[in-house]
C-alpha cells in the first residue's frame, strides 16, 4: 500500500481511524478497544439512536522513532464527535496508559530519556458533551482535565485540530489545557459553538450560517494570530505529522513553553487580553487583526498558508 499518497490526504476529510494510524510511524499503530471489541454506548439504544462499535473515538498506541505515542482520535461524523460515557472512558484510559508507560520507564531506568519520553496526541473532532448521556459525558470531561494535570512535568500532550466539527464545548477547555495546539486553517476552536450562540443570543449577535464569520472568529488563522494556536499547518495529514515530529524533537522543558495558560504570568497575560477587548470593542475579528498591525486584515483569509505565515502579525506575547 502506498502510504505516501495517503499522507498527502486532507486531514479535514480523513476519518478518525485514518488520522490516528497516519500520525505515527507506518505500521506501528495498534488500536486499543477496536471495533471488534464492540464497546458500544449503553445509553443510545435506549433512546433509539444509532450506535458505533468504537463509540466515536479511536484510541491506540504507536511509535514515532523510539518514542511511544498514545493517540486519541475523535470521529465528528458520529453524533458530532460528542463525548459520552464509553467515548470519555476510552480517552481517560489512554492518559492512564501513557502515564503508566512513563512511570515504567522511570522505575526501570531511573530517568526518562528525551527520545523515549511518551507523548499523547489528541485529534479533536467534537462539539463536547454528548447530550444523550450528559452526566457521564461531563464526568469524563472532569476526569480528563484531572489526567491532563497528572501529565504535567511528565509527558507532553499535543492537540491537533483540523477536522470537520472542530473542537467546541467542554473539549475546548480540554484543548486549552494541553501543552501545544496545532491547527490547520480549516480547524475551529471555541467554547460555545456558533449554533448555540445564535440560538441563545440571536442571529444579530452571531449568524451561524455565515461560514466566513465562523472561520474569522474560531478558525485556525484567528487562533494563530491570537496565540491560542501555537503551530498552523496545511490541511494534510503529512503537515500535522511533521509538526508533531518537530515539536517532539524539542526537549520537554521547551515544549512546556508553548502553554498558553497554567502560570500566574500567563493568567495575567490573559487578563490583559480581556481588558484590551473591552477597550477595543471589536465589531469583527478583523478589527483585532488590524490592531496587531495587519493593515489589510481582509486579505489574511485569502492568502495561501505560506504567504499568510510570512506576512501575518500576531498578538505580541508578554510572556516569552
Amino acid at each position: 500500500m502506498n502510504t505516501d499518497g495517503l499522507m498527502e490526504m486532507s486531514f479535514y476529510s480523513a476519518t478518525a481511524r485514518r488520522r490516528a494510524s497516519q500520525l505515527v510511524d507506518p505500521g506501528t499503530f495498534s488500536e486499543l478497544l477496536a471495533p471488534n471489541d464492540r464497546l458500544v454506548s449503553p445509553h443510545l439504544p435506549e433512546l433509539g439512536e444509532a450506535v458505533s462499535f468504537d463509540d466515536g473515538v479511536v484510541t491506540g498506541v504507536g511509535r514515532i522513532g523510539a518514542r511511544p505515542v498514545f493517540l486519541i482520535s475523535q470521529e465528528g461524523r458520529f453524533i458530532g464527535g460528542a463525548v459520552g460515557e464509553i467515548h470519555g472512558a476510552k480517552m481517560v484510559g489512554i492518559f492512564r496508559l501513557a502515564l503508566q508507560a512513563y512511570e515504567t520507564i522511570l522505575d526501570r531506568e531511573g530517568r526518562v530519556p528525551e527520545e523515549r519520553r511518551p507523548a499523547i496526541l489528541i485529534s479533536f473532532d467534537t462539539g463536547g458533551v454528548r447530550l444523550h448521556e450528559a452526566n457521564a459525558g461531563l464526568l469524563a470531561h472532569a476526569e480528563i482535565m484531572d489526567m491532563i494535570q497528572e501529565t504535567k512535568g511528565k509527558i507532553p500532550v499535543i492537540s491537533l485540530i483540523g477536522s470537520k466539527v472542530g473542537c467546541f464545548g467542554g473539549m475546548g477547555f480540554v484543548a486549552a489545557a494541553t501543552d501545544v495546539i496545532v491547527m490547520s486553517s480549516l480547524g475551529r476552536l471555541g467554547l460555545t459553538g456558533p449554533e448555540v450562540i445564535e440560538q441563545e443570543i440571536g442571529k444579530e449577535e452571531f449568524d451561524a450560517s455565515d461560514k466566513s464569520l465562523i472561520s474569522r472568529t474560531t478558525g485556525g488563522r484567528h487562533r494563530y494570530i491570537m496565540q491560542d494556536c501555537n503551530v498552523l499547518v496545511d490541511d494534510t495529514i503529512r503537515a500535522f505529522r511533521r509538526a508533531v515530529e518537530e515539536i517532539l524533537a524539542l526537549p520537554y522543558e521547551e515544549i512546556c513553553h508553548y502553554r498558553r495558560i497554567g502560570t500566574y504570568p500567563l493568567v495575567q497575560e490573559q487578563m490583559a487580553l480581556v481588558q484590551q477587548a473591552a477597550e477595543l470593542m471589536p465589531g469583527d475579528s478583523m478589527d483585532v487583526w488590524r490592531c496587531y498591525g495587519n493593515d489589510e486584515p481582509e486579505l489574511l483569509p485569502e492568502w495561501e498558508l505560506s504567504e499568510f505565515l510570512c506576512a501575518v502579525r500576531r498578538r505580541p506575547k508578554e510572556v516569552p
Binding site: 477496536a34 471495533p35 439504544p45 433509539g48 444509532a50 458505533s52 462499535f53 461524523r77 458520529f78
Partner: protein, 108 residues
C-alpha cells in the same frame, strides 16, 4: 424507541471469506453506516446482523443484502452493520467497499 436488531442468513461460497480474522470499515455518520466483517467457517453461510434506528424496511434490507452476497461471491462471514439511515445505494456501496478493503484492495 429502542434500536432494531435484524438478522439475516444467506448461502454464500464456502471458503470465500476474508484473509484476516476481522475487518472494519465505514463511519456511522448521518445517512451512513459501519461494517464489521468477521471470518467464520460455517459451510459458506453469510450471517448479517443489522442494528438500525429505522423501522419497517426489513424486506429492503433482505433484498439488498441477498443481492450483495450473490454478486460479491463471498462466504463464511459474519457481517455486522451499525446503520444510521443509510439508503440502499449507500448500503450496497459500503458493503462492496468493506469487502474490498478486507481483501487488501485500495483504501479510498
Amino acid at each position: 424507541m429502542a434500536l432494531n436488531h435484524l438478522e439475516f442468513s444467506y448461502d454464500g461460497v464456502a471458503g470465500a471469506s476474508i484473509p484476516a480474522d476481522w475487518s472494519h470499515s465505514g463511519v456511522v455518520g448521518s445517512g451512513d453506516m459501519e461494517v464489521l466483517l468477521t471470518r467464520k467457517a460455517q459451510g459458506g453461510k453469510v450471517v448479517v446482523k443489522v442494528c438500525t434506528p429505522v423501522c419497517g424496511f426489513d424486506q429492503v434490507w433482505d433484498k439488498v443484502l441477498a443481492h450483495f452476497v450473490a454478486e460479491s461471491g463471498c462466504g463464511d462471514l459474519v457481517i455486522e452493520i451499525n446503520d444510521n439511515n443509510a439508503t440502499p445505494f449507500i448500503v450496497s456501496l459500503r458493503l462492496q467497499q468493506a469487502l474490498s478493503e478486507a481483501r487488501g484492495g485500495d483504501l479510498q
